[in-house]
């Protein structure tokens, strides 16, 4: 059923995680169902927005796509190959083709390594040649000076760190990138810069991108299609323009209404 140009094809995806808060003194913690049967196609070259509140399962969905988690049900196909239950060794060649940018650039960049080493690392792992040139190229792409290679993450501003995170992800020339809440921790002025960088890269490199965010404004800025998640289920899945013009689900409308626009006369407030 996978379409010709579909990069990711997900059907009936379920993920359950142990609930440590409810763990009895003896025995295993009960499982809580985080994702309850998600169906999803991500076409090559598209930008998918995944939006929802906390506890909606949006980050879990992202991590399952990249197989940082193992699903408890359903299947995930990447470029036609079933990766649902592959082990880490079998996943390694595929890992080069899918990369991730993390929410908190401070915790996702190893604080004891320099920026150059952080970007070069995945390249070394996958035995690329001309590593120095590739690192320079990646820094150029995200608009950071090459001199930043010798800096440590804590010497950079939040926006710069996040651009290092992007540089590391694109250095491998992946086909797919998952961006998990990558601007929510940044000041608004850096947010705009990071989004611009990402937007240009998607166009330049023909990337397929899944962009997870709680912020509909950011989603609208970047995405072609939007999936609204609520408590592990799809509340609405539509093209961006249609979603914003005429939201179908009550949950989507609630999310939209709740966003405080910089306008003292906004309705429903």
């Amino acid at each position: 059923m996978a379409l010709e140009d579909s990069l990711f094809s997900v059907s009936g995806l379920e993920v359950a995680l142990p609930d440590m808060a409810a763990k009895p003194v003896f025995g295993r913690a009960p499982l809580i169902q985080i994702l309850k049967g998600i169906n999803l196609e991500i076409t090559r070259g598209s930008v998918l927005g995944i939006v929802g509140g906390s506890g909606s399962g949006k980050s879990t969905l992202g991590r399952a796509l990249l197989r940082l988690l193992e699903p408890t049900g359903g299947t995930i196909r990447f470029d036609g190959q079933d990766i649902t239950h592959l082990n880490e060794d079998a996943l390694r060649p595929i890992r080069r083709r899918m990369q991730m940018i993390f929410q908190d650039p401070m915790s996702s960049l190893n604080p004891r390594r320099r920026v150059g080493a952080i970007i070069a690392d995945p390249l070394l792992m996958h035995e690329f040649d001309a590593i120095d040139a590739r690192v320079d190229d990646a820094l150029d792409h995200v608009g950071l000076p090459r001199g930043f290679k010798s800096r440590y993450p804590h010497e950079l501003s939040g926006g710069q760190r996040q651009r290092v995170g992007i540089a590391r992800a694109i250095a491998l020339k992946p086909e797919f990138i998952l961006a998990d809440e990558i601007v929510s921790g940044l000041d608004v002025s850096s947010q705009a810069q990071v989004l611009n960088v990402l937007d240009n890269l998607v166009k330049e490199l023909g990337l397929t991108l899944a962009f997870i965010s709680h912020d509909l404004s950011v989603i609208r800025r970047l995405c072609d299609r939007v999936m609204v998640l609520n408590r592990g289920e799809i509340a609405e899945f539509a093209n961006t323009d249609r979603l914003f013009a005429a939201p179908q689900s009550a949950y989507t409308r609630e999310l939209m209404d709740a966003i405080p626009l910089p306008d003292p006369n906004q309705a429903n407030w």
Partner: protein, 293 residues
């Protein structure tokens, strides 16, 4: 009759290095029943101002110049103990992180009533009745049950309601809200902002509302001050500001703020030239301050 809270020419520096100012001659005033927004990006010093008013600055920072007048009293001229007592009786804080602001090993009830009993000398019974009334006022359905709960048993939104109830417990005349909704989901944020506005209006509280989000400012504040590098860049009435800010930095900040309704005019990067201009103004202010001092 002067304003309820007046901050006049307030400067704070890194302790031991007076030249290293974190607040640069900040002035503003708030009347009873009025909400002032302090807006800025990280490092702008907005939280520092709230802390200076409440006398809870970190030990590495000290006030080096300026005055704070609270309800007719000059805080800077008072003895430490008197100042604490005055602030305890007239002011309250709504903190940013509802998780760390509540003591995880104590039930909710004493965390609301302690201040009433210990500092204001209420009887335990009165304090308990007041706490129940307050939890009801912040729209908590089952106040009795929540009073007996531990913080980890409540959701983030619920905890923030408890903190708001606790802030308004002693009928404060001034409330400092320090990014009170940053840690919350948008839908919960909306409820909490409405709640704060409702209580503030009903009790005619003067309020300092610290936030990085201009959207939030437009919902709860009547006036705002935009900060950069510890300096007030622009002060304005809210309707006038959102009609068109006066300062280039404010304009850039507003243009960078997300607006899903208008993708073309939101999330615009801040121009380097604007940053250079406002940084220049801060340096010039420092220059003048050194000559003056």
């Amino acid at each position: 009759m002067s304003a309820f809270l007046t901050v006049d020419n307030l400067s704070a520096s890194i302790r031991g290095n007076i030249r290293q100012r974190v607040l640069r001659s900040v002035s503003f005033s708030i009347d009873t029943g009025e909400v002032l927004g302090l807006v800025g990006e990280s490092g702008a010093g907005k939280s520092m101002i709230g802390k200076a008013i409440l006398g809870i600055l970190p030990s590495a920072v000290e006030v080096v110049e300026g005055e704070i007048q609270l309800d007719g009293h000059n805080l800077m001229a008072m003895k430490q103990a008197d100042r604490r007592r005055l602030i305890g009786a007239t002011a309250a804080l709504i903190p940013q992180d509802p998780l760390t602001a509540l003591n995880p090993s104590r039930r909710i009830e004493p965390q609301i009533t302690n201040r009433l009993v210990d500092i204001l000398g209420w009887s335990k019974r009165d304090a308990r009745l007041r706490a129940l009334e307050l939890l009801d006022e912040v729209h908590i359905d089952n106040p009795e049950r929540v009073m007996g709960s531990y913080p980890h048993e409540l959701s983030g939104g619920m905890r923030q309601r408890v903190l708001i109830a606790s802030a308004f417990a002693a009928n404060p005349k001034l409330v400092v809200a320090d990014e009170p909704t940053t840690a919350l989901d948008v839908t919960v944020q909306k409820q909490i902002l409405r709640l704060i506005r409702e209580l503030q209006t009903r009790h005619e509280t003067a309020m300092v509302f610290v936030t990085h989000d201009l959207g939030v400012v437009s919902k709860v504040c009547q006036r705002l001050s935009v900060l950069y590098g510890g300096m007030v860049v622009e002060s304005s009435d809210v309707p006038a500001f959102f009609g068109g800010p006066g300062h280039a930095y404010s304009r850039a900040l507003l243009a960078a703020t997300p607006k899903y309704t208008d993708p073309e005019a939101s999330l615009l990067p801040v121009d380097e030239a604007v940053i250079a201009q406002v940084s220049g103004e801060v340096l010039a202010a420092d220059e003048g301050w050194r000559h003056g001092a």
